[in-house]
């Protein structure tokens, strides 16, 4: 319940924060960036993480909020889940993210926890990585060498690991608008507050009874979020009917590598992926 002692800094600009990271690195400090802290502080309290230095991004200006940027939205990395879940721009253009953000943990955690923090934390059971992957978002990362961008497909590298290197800070996520698409996030848990056992994010564009395009993301079916590419291919150009969707969803477990734990073994998760994919797509097309 009591973290190990650490030094603390609360910079007010990204540049200052980067400078602190560089200095800490030079001093051999084990440094952690603190965003909303809803995942970091619990592991520090359990002493599963013992950073010697914490750099708090909570007072850095300009990292929070949602802005309209033409054919995409810019979501600041420090935007709380609660704001993502209720922001009118997101509701209109990428409702999938609003729905997924509203399922993260519980209301108190959603008030504090941040969009970017959850993405960089990259918990395989987290509810934002798969939807963000399905949107084909772009990650804006600031580092000692300036800004760089990473595509969603390259961002999630492994178990709790992303393309954000030590000394770098995720500042914003650019999400393409999917105005007019149908979408749904289908989450499966044993109790409400639990991390996802499996969840499926679906965005579907229907034209005249046919599925023109589909983007499907899978939560907790591997050490990183996955795109269900076989399902996407099977859906594209097919009829927006329950039978066709069910047939396509049967491909959901292809290429996955789910874990086995108390909540279910790999076979069960593979099965769940198919059922939840079917349900997510049906809901996304309004069936």
């Amino acid at each position: 319940m009591i973290p190990s002692a650490f030094d603390y800094a609360a910079p007010s600009t990204v540049e200052e924060a980067l400078g602190l990271l560089a200095a800490a690195d030079a001093a051999g400090d084990d440094v952690k960036l603190l965003a909303g802290g809803q995942s970091l502080l619990p592991v520090m309290k359990l002493r599963l993480a013992d950073p010697s230095m914490v750099v708090d991004l909570g007072r850095v200006a300009g990292l929070s909020g949602v802005t309209d940027d033409g054919d995409s939205l810019l979501i600041g990395a420090m935007t709380p889940h609660h704001v993502v879940a209720t922001d009118p721009l997101i509701a209109r253009h990428v409702p999938l993210l609003a729905q997924a953000a509203a399922t993260v943990a519980d209301p108190q955690v959603r008030h504090r926890g941040t969009f970017g923090g959850a993405l960089v934390h990259a918990d395989p059971a987290g509810d934002l990585p798969a939807p963000v992957l399905a949107t084909g978002a772009t990650f804006m990362i600031a580092g000692p060498g300036g800004q760089r961008t990473v595509d969603a497909a390259d961002f999630f590298e492994g178990y709790f690991t992303t393309a954000v290197a030590e000394g770098e800070i995720l500042t914003a996520i650019r999400v393409p608008k999917y105005t007019g698409w149908g979408s749904h996030y289908e989450k499966f848990t044993r109790v409400a507050q639990q991390w996802s056992i499996v969840a499926v994010a679906a965005q579907v564009r229907v034209e005249g009874g046919t599925i023109a395009e589909a983007r499907i993301g899978l939560t907790n079916m591997a050490s990183t979020p996955l795109r269900a590419t076989a399902v996407e291919a099977a859906l594209a150009g097919g009829a927006a009917t329950a039978d066709a969707i069910a047939a396509a969803a049967a491909h959901a477990a292809e290429g996955t590598d789910p874990a086995s734990d108390l909540n279910g073994d790999a076979a069960y998760r593979a099965h769940l992926a198919q059922v939840l994919t079917k349900r997510a797509v049906l809901a996304a097309v309004g069936l």
Partner: protein, 790 residues
């Protein structure tokens, strides 16, 4: 009982105001001058020899005042008590609060840090270097029974004790073997009671102040009186030198019915440092090292005739003690021994229980304690019998239950049930539930092959409450009695103080006891103050567990109030210059029979206080004590019905409707009863669907935090539809039966029976608890591949 002003009234609670405003007095809120803080060094291994402990670095860590190991306190820590040796030859390992040579479960304390701040204590935990030599672990109960691996090197066997009840030997029934040999239908099943964690919301906390001439302990405990006695016995301190205070206590559910290592260690730390010491566990420590509950393998045989009449029941239990015997660990299965026959007229019954050690956290009381296990087993078996015979599960129960006109009824387990009306409770439940309508909906879904199937779970139950008649406890080798004490004090103003030995931790005793006394003495409810939970205020008591408070503690309160009236009558007669025989008492006034001359209890209180004009030789004091020892248990009962939806695609279980009709006898406060039922239901449902203390093969608790030990929250539980029937108990003058455990006992089998009823036609015969989506789905897959034969 005649209807009165207070009994039966839904009084709002007296205890609420300080709790809703944050002026609570939980133990961890306590701060004393110079107080030191404790942090425990716990074994990461489930079974190991301690070969060396190096505390040097910890001792020199900033703020650390002392580090104590088992070796440091071996001569003074004694052995933690087991108050219930169920057989004369019961085996138990020595159980020091701090392990000395060997640890037998992961989480056992091997050293304690005493420091000036909680942070400094916690920091130093990392600096204690303990060398372990790992020993083989035995985690599985059935494997432990084989003795291939021993949980303790000092014991020759994992078997602690075997306890048998046989109705043929006891003369309460016939031979089970005969019944089985002649069975027209024989149902044999092995059922599993998973290990649960009480998970009270307030982590356990203890503050010990050694200053002054006695030791004062504040502790988050259900049992201040028993704790005081046991601390004295364990540590060799005169009982008179120990004061235990249970201030606000944040739930217990049996989990705080314990004399804990941490309490003893806090005393030792205070003794060694001479300073007040505080220990508050983290939730992770609570889940890992607070005692667990349930954990049994139930091997059952039920014999019956083809018409559904049960002819015999054989129960063979393996009960997981975990690594040690706690306060009543060994007796928990025995509390269930008398309940397997439940509400039924079985002619033959045999119960055999093997208490077995494993390298897990020790088990002990958890809400219901033995009785939920028994009820689950028999209610599952009655459903299996109904299935086997193609009968409605309610019909097979009705065929066997005791009819209301047959009470009082001596059961095959030897208990005398005083009253009950199972027909009435069941009829009411069936009505509230719309049983026929839901059966029709179930058929519709089956016929349509609906992916979401519907099941109806039935549970009819009774329990023995009001623990307990002291003589019965004596016959079961329990180390204490089952009485309860109360004192009613009359203050000069006429206000009343009630002192109860039944120490509440959320139940609402202050409110209910006030109602009892207001009713009996005819004083306003507001003028009664209830005191409890401090051994210096309430000197005698046996505390709160086993649905005993009202039926035992409440009776003591009434008896003490009656003594006050008798004393006051003497003064009233004197003041009104009448004969004592002519004084009548009603509604707070003493009246001279046949006159309008009267005086109030308040006036007598003042006169007694002044003592200017009292009868010769009258002691100027109306205060009265009473100790009540029940002559019998009480037997609440009820019928619970659950409509369960099973999503056959995902295995998800949902509760469409939950109806319970409980008969808890005469109700003092329906609001409190309702609250007890709701909370009990939540915990019983949680056993059926959500909770399990799971270990890996190495002996690590993998459900070591609330991330993995799934206590349900509001969206996970249904809206309960509750009703009551009222058949007054005759075993106490109020007619009350007890309600603390009813919901927990009845709901678990109702839910699991419902789950199975939803999928049995698909070939599923059993699903272990908790019925997780994964287990339900796998059961459905297995049924498909085996064609339903397992």
């Amino acid at each position: 009982m005649t209807a009165t002003a207070e009994i039966g009234k839904a009084r709002l609670r007296k205890e609420d105001r300080h709790l809703v405003t944050g002026r609570s007095r939980f133990t961890d809120n306590m701060v004393l001058p110079g107080m030191l803080h404790l942090a425990m060094v716990r074994s990461p291994y489930a079974h190991a020899k301690i070969t060396a402990i190096d505390t040097a670095a910890a001792k020199s860590s900033p703020g650390v005042m002392a580090v104590l190991t088992g070796a440091d306190v071996a001569g003074e820590q004694g052995s933690l008590p087991n108050a219930w040796p169920i057989t004369p030859d019961q085996k138990a390992p020595a159980h020091g609060a701090i392990a000395v040579e060997e640890v037998a479960f992961a989480g056992e304390v091997v050293a304690v840090i005493v420091a000036r701040s909680a942070a400094a204590a916690r920091d130093a935990v990392e600096l204690v270097d303990v060398s372990y030599e790992e020993l083989p672990v035995v985690m599985d109960l059935e494997e432990a029974f084989t003795d291939k691996v021993l949980a303790h090197t000092a014991l020759e066997s994992n078997l602690s004790a075997t306890w048998v009840f046989d109705s043929a030997e006891a003369g309460t029934g016939s031979s089970v073997q005969d019944a089985i040999d002649n069975a027209e239908v024989l149902i044999e099943r092995t059922l599993y009671q998973q290990r649960l964690i009480p998970a009270f919301m307030e982590p356990r906390s203890t503050v010990v102040d050694p200053t002054g001439e006695q030791i004062t302990m504040w502790s988050a405990t259900q049992i201040p009186h028993i704790l005081r006695l046991m601390l004295a016995l364990t540590l060799g301190i005169p009982e008179s030198k120990v004061r235990v205070i249970a201030p606000d206590v944040g739930g217990g559910f049996g989990g705080k019915l314990q004399v804990t290592p941490e309490e003893v260690i806090t005393v030792l730390a205070a003794r060694h440092t001479g300073k007040p010491c505080k220990y508050t566990e983290t939730r992770s420590e609570s889940l890992q090292a607070g005692h667990h509950g349930r954990a049994q393998v139930q091997r059952l045989k039920l014999s019956a005739r083809k018409d559904g009449t049960v002819t015999g029941l054989s129960v063979n239990l393996l009960a997981d003690m975990g690594a040690y015997l706690g306060l009543v660990t060994s007796g928990i299965p025995i509390l269930g021994a008398f309940m397997y026959n439940s509400i039924y007229k079985f002619p033959a019954y045999r119960f055999e229980c093997h208490n077995i050690f494993t390298n897990k956290t020790w088990t002990d009381a958890y809400r219901g304690a033995g009785r939920p296990e028994a009820t689950f087993a028999i209610e599952r078996m009655m459903d299996e019998l109904a299935t086997e015979l193609g009968m409605d599960p309610l019909a097979v129960r009705e065929k066997n239950w005791i009819r209301h006109e047959e009470f009082p009824f001596t059961t095959v387990a030897g208990l005398e049930y005083d009253t009950g009306n199972y027909e009435a409770a069941t009829a009411k439940a069936v009505d509230l539930f719309d049983y026929q309508g839901l059966r029709a909906e179930q058929k519709r879904r089956r016929d349509a092959n609906d992916p979401v199937q519907l099941g109806i779970g039935v549970s009819t139950f009774t329990e023995m409450c009001g623990l307990a008649p002291s003589r019965v406890l004596g016959s079961l080798s329990y180390g204490a009695g089952g009485w309860e004490h109360a004192q009613v004090r009359v203050l000069p103003t006429g206000n009343i103080e009630v002192v109860t030995g039944s120490s509440a931790h959320g139940q609402g005793h202050e409110t209910a006891w006030s109602q009892l006394v207001a009713d009996r003495l005819g004083v306003p409810f507001e003028n009664v103050e209830v005191l409890h939970g401090d051994t210096q205020i309430s000197q005698r008591g046996l505390d709160t567990y086993g649905s005993r408070s009202l039926t035992v503690g409440g009776m003591a309160v009434l008896a003490a109030a009656d003594k006050v009236i008798e004393k006051a009558k003497v003064v009233a007669a004197h003041l009104m210059e009448a004969s004592e025989a002519d004084i009548e008492f009603a509604a707070g006034s003493f009246t001279v029979k046949g006159t309008d001359q009267s005086t109030t209890l308040g006036e007598i209180a003042l006169a007694t206080f002044a003592a200017h004009n009292l009868p010769d030789g009258f002691e100027p004091n109306l205060d009265s004590d009473a100790t009540f020892d029940p002559v019998n248990f009480s037997y609440p009962h009820g019928t619970h019905l659950a409509a369960i939806e099973v999503d056959t695609e995902t295995g998800h279980v949902g509760i469409l409707k939950y109806v319970c009709v409980d008969d808890v006898g005469v109700v003092v406060n329906p609001l409190l009863v309702e609250g007890q039922v709701h909370g009990g239901l939540a915990q019983g449902i949680a056993q059926a669907l959500y909770e399990e203390a799971a270990y890996d093969d190495a002996g690590t608790l993998v459900t070591g935090s609330f991330v993995d030990y799934l206590v349900p929250s509001a969206p996970d539980l249904p809206h309960y539809i509750t009703g009551r029937t009222e058949t007054p108990a005759t075993s106490n003058q109020l007619g009350a039966k007890g309600v603390g455990e009813a919901g927990t006992i009845a709901s678990t089998p109702a839910i699991v029976n419902g789950v199975l009823d939803a999928v049995r036609h698909l070939g599923v015969r059993d699903i272990k608890m908790p019925c997780t989506p994964s287990r339900v789905w796998h059961a459905l897959q297995d049924a498909k591949t085996t064609g339903g034969v397992q």
